[in-house]
């Protein structure tokens, strides 16, 4: 957090680093929009970022996780929804 303030002081853009990544080898196409639209809360996948000192990967984003949620929420489980 102090780092961020320093950045602010130096008026430099923050250098964000991706902590929640899907490997290209997974051949998955994820977009936030449809998920935010139906009101999936950010922590579901990102964890309680506010509570983290240093951001880290909260959820093991494997297919089981996605499919489970999709089935629960009645979202499409058509492979093509994510893999194309």
């Amino acid at each position: 957090m102090r780092k961020v303030l320093e950045h602010y002081a130096r008026k430099e853009p923050l250098q964000w680093r991706k902590v929640t990544v899907l490997p290209a080898s997974a051949m998955v196409h994820f977009t936030h929009r449809p998920h935010t639209r139906v009101g999936v809360a950010c922590p579901v996948c990102h964890g309680e970022v506010a509570a983290m000192g240093v951001a880290r990967r909260a959820v093991a984003l494997d297919m089981a996780f996605c499919v489970a949620c999709h089935e629960r929420e009645g979202a499409s489980v058509d492979c093509l929804t994510c893999h194309h």
Binding site: M63, A64, V67, A68, E71, V77
Partner: protein
Amino acid sequence: MNPEDERLLLAPVERGSRGLRLGLVASALAAGVLCACWGYQIAHDLGVAGINRPVFWGVYITNFVFWIGISHAGTLISAILRLTGAEWRRPVTRCAEAITVFALAVGGLFPLIHLGRPWLFYWLLPLPNARGLWPNFRSPLLWDVTAIGTYFLGSSLYLFLPAIPDLAALRDRATGWRRRVYTWCALGWRGTPRQWHALENGIRVMAVLILPVAVSVHTIVSWDFAMSLQPMWHSTIFGPYFVAGAIYSGIAILVAVMAALRRGLGLGRYISETVFDNLGLLFLTMALVWAYFTFAEHLTVWYGNEPAEMAVFWERVSGRYAPAFWTMVVLNFAVPMLVLPFRRGRRPGPASLVAVGVLLGMWLERFLIIIPSLANPRLAYTVGRYVPSGVEWGITFGAFGLFVFLYHLFLRCVPAVSLWEMRAGAAAESDTSLAPEPAREGVR
């Protein structure tokens, strides 16, 4: 049957011989070629093979069909002979059943070898998973998996069950670690009447059960092709056609192997000319059956004269694949017809030569069924051509090596001819030889 018979039959197992050791090493090297080529292919992707578009299947699938066909030698034949109680089966069954098991082992490799991502082969098995995925039982490939799996398990047991008494015999003669191993394998066989009773019943029931499996296996292999829309694949007689071809090639390799054992292990006394004579007749029959199916298949296509199918037809008989086609006809039909009808032609020497020819011919037949159809798809724009690559040839060669290697191992562990069945045979013979005498007395 006297002790020196025993010694002779057990010699390969207990002492081995230079020939056997040589064969073992040579075939091991050949099998190594397969491993090396496959390793290279996995490292450098399937692209190192000659297959392409539209010829997506090449010699790998050819080999698959060929070896699964070969596997029909043993189990099927020995089962038939056992059930019909043909006396001349006794020296044949064991080495025949062994062929089945090892041919299946080799043939079963090829579907894996030809996969684009072989390390994922287990996705073809119905394994529970959290991702909601499941294999597709409508796919003939899954039928293959189940059928071949069953057949492999079944014929292994069918090989093992009748071998128990001989394993016990070996156990009783062996010492040291070998003894321990045989003890385990022989399952404490003692040869009590109760055990013999159970064993014979078991063998009989197995023989009944294994037959329909054997038939189904190659039928299903043929359905891999017949289920598709490809010209000259989509044929109703493919099932019986393939089974006939399978038995044909099976008998061919059986004849070849037995001739080899005869010379290599000096088993002439047991694997006698009579055996070859009988096998030869069966061989001849299958040659005719195969020819009949082949003729029917091509006649139907030619007379139907459907353009897409004719493209393949002409490609085979007068096109790029004509040389292969006519070689096949000569090896699989002409030569057997000229040799096998005659008693002298059915003697080990000529018969085994014919058999080798038929093996080559049947390999070509598989090749000719697969490639020309793929190379001439319905939309004629995409005419294909296919030249197998070095890797493919290497693996094909290595497969034979692997087969021979496994067979050599087998010869070093279990007598190639079933001791107890020979004994039983001998006993039965002596009974019959004694029988006439009282009759003669009666005359007096």
